[in-house]
Symmetry: C2
Subunit: 341 residues, 2 copies
Amino acid sequence: MIKNDLFLRALKGETVNRPPVWMMRQAGRYLPEFMAIKEKYDFFTRCRTPELASEITVQPIRRYGMDAAILFSDILVIPQAMNIEVEMKSNFGPYLPNPVRTSADVDNVIVPDVTQALDYVFEAIKATKELLNDDIPLIGFAGSPWTILCYCVEGQGSKNFAKAKAFCFTNPVAAHLLLQKITDTTIAYLKEKVKAGVNAVQIFDSWGGMLSPSDYQEFSWQYINQIVEALKDDIPVIAFGKGCWFALSEMANSNASAIGVDWTVSPDVARKLTNNKITLQGNFDPSRLLSPPKDIKRMVKDMIDGFGKDKYIVNLGHGILPNIPLEHVEAFITSVKTYNV
Amino acid sequence: MIKNDLFLRALKGETVNRPPVWMMRQAGRYLPEFMAIKEKYDFFTRCRTPELASEITVQPIRRYGMDAAILFSDILVIPQAMNIEVEMKSNFGPYLPNPVRTSADVDNVIVPDVTQALDYVFEAIKATKELLNDDIPLIGFAGSPWTILCYCVEGQGSKNFAKAKAFCFTNPVAAHLLLQKITDTTIAYLKEKVKAGVNAVQIFDSWGGMLSPSDYQEFSWQYINQIVEALKDDIPVIAFGKGCWFALSEMANSNASAIGVDWTVSPDVARKLTNNKITLQGNFDPSRLLSPPKDIKRMVKDMIDGFGKDKYIVNLGHGILPNIPLEHVEAFITSVKTYNV
């Protein structure tokens, strides 16, 4: 049904001629066509207008022909739907003016009817599917419950999310209640995304690497795993945890279809830690896209050689940076598409 | 000569009755007696006045009786001595108004005569040694060349030091020139610290974990290792790299006396990655000091059981946070001192 199903085949672990490629945050600030839209419409207008979200989603595909598209949206639409105010401040990032800091605050957080609260996301998916015309698969995503909690409690980005961790370690009962509410909302949300037409989903655990291995199990992985278990029969799930190298073995034993890794894990170590048994996705250092194109080409080839062309999806190890030259992205994508040719 | 030499014996790998304990940033903002001095004197006055630096250094020892003191100072005294302006802004952190961004900027960076430029540090060491009266060892420290470069280029703290990495990846020649200048200055600086009386030194690589394993070798470890090689015959060297789990095996093969690890590495994994052959230091999550004292006691015991009492120095996995209750620090230190009793 999908014409280029390389990405879906890699998720199933099938033998392929070359690995598929996409980039986290591929619809974003490095693209002039994205910046043109950004100048006219604020962040939430872009997310909430299906014509804009779908147009932004396909922009990088038109330019570079990645093997998968990922819906333009944000992980913080979830807390917003849960009755927590979220602002997106320019030159600052997310700002939550009323952070969750007490048990009473957690009680005020709702598990919404996502079909209504996040209707605009499902409409954006339908619009995007039309634009994509089944050429390539569309990925939907959500933040991990732990990562969402980090923003809800901290109220903004942070270097170490000390307030979020303080909340969990001083009030674990309230923390787990909040995590479960986020998990329930996320499962319902992703199931609706599947109904709307996405072909795979990715869970982003951007801040799991702030936790010790045992705290990661307690506050992050068990909730991600609930999501994986709830979705596994509907759709392939990719679990990506930045800095979560220490949990790779556990993640590989789950029912996720693939595990995302960041650039601190070399390909051979990633294969070893996951017992060579699951599809891996990653892990080019986004800053390394600043290297000259000839170096990018060499490094991409080495990376694919390292992971092996099968059970592998080429990606960055985190989102693309805003200041990457277009021809460097071209070098990255082309190197993958001409691998093994 | 040193009455309590537990810390030095652990660095040598000798059998001990219990491991020694100290805490990164133990002279700092969680202590009311430190805050009293902080209210009266600005940051650089505190660093540059031997009476203040030595008093601050011994404050936590008086209160808790750690097994080692670490000189109150800052890693950024090095770039400051190298002709790079450094300010310490309250509620912001370090700020370098003229960051190093070009080859010409690197050419303007000097390798100073440290005996003059950093005279105040050596005076502070002498003053501290008098206060300590050889009761416990005194640790001197420096930032790793890579971590110092991060601040020099970025001009301030950062979540991902993207500007610093961009500089290295687009202008590696200039980056290596700067790294070598920092390395040369640091070696001279630490050798003078040894002359002034410190009993061990620690290299802090706070931002090494931002790099891929191969970039870490190229931009960080080779310079840390130069420092280790230059100092190893004079004094025990501890190498601490936050987020540098991927390099632990290489670090364990060096001539460092101990390797510091953060809390993402469980004790058994840390021992495995270092082939059980070197003294390890760490790795309590600083945020976990917010847990109730009874939980802290249990977790400290588990941690020591995990690392084993020998070839081990109890510490946090990074600096202590400002908002830690005094009785929680007490619980942490006491748990170690009563281990095996």
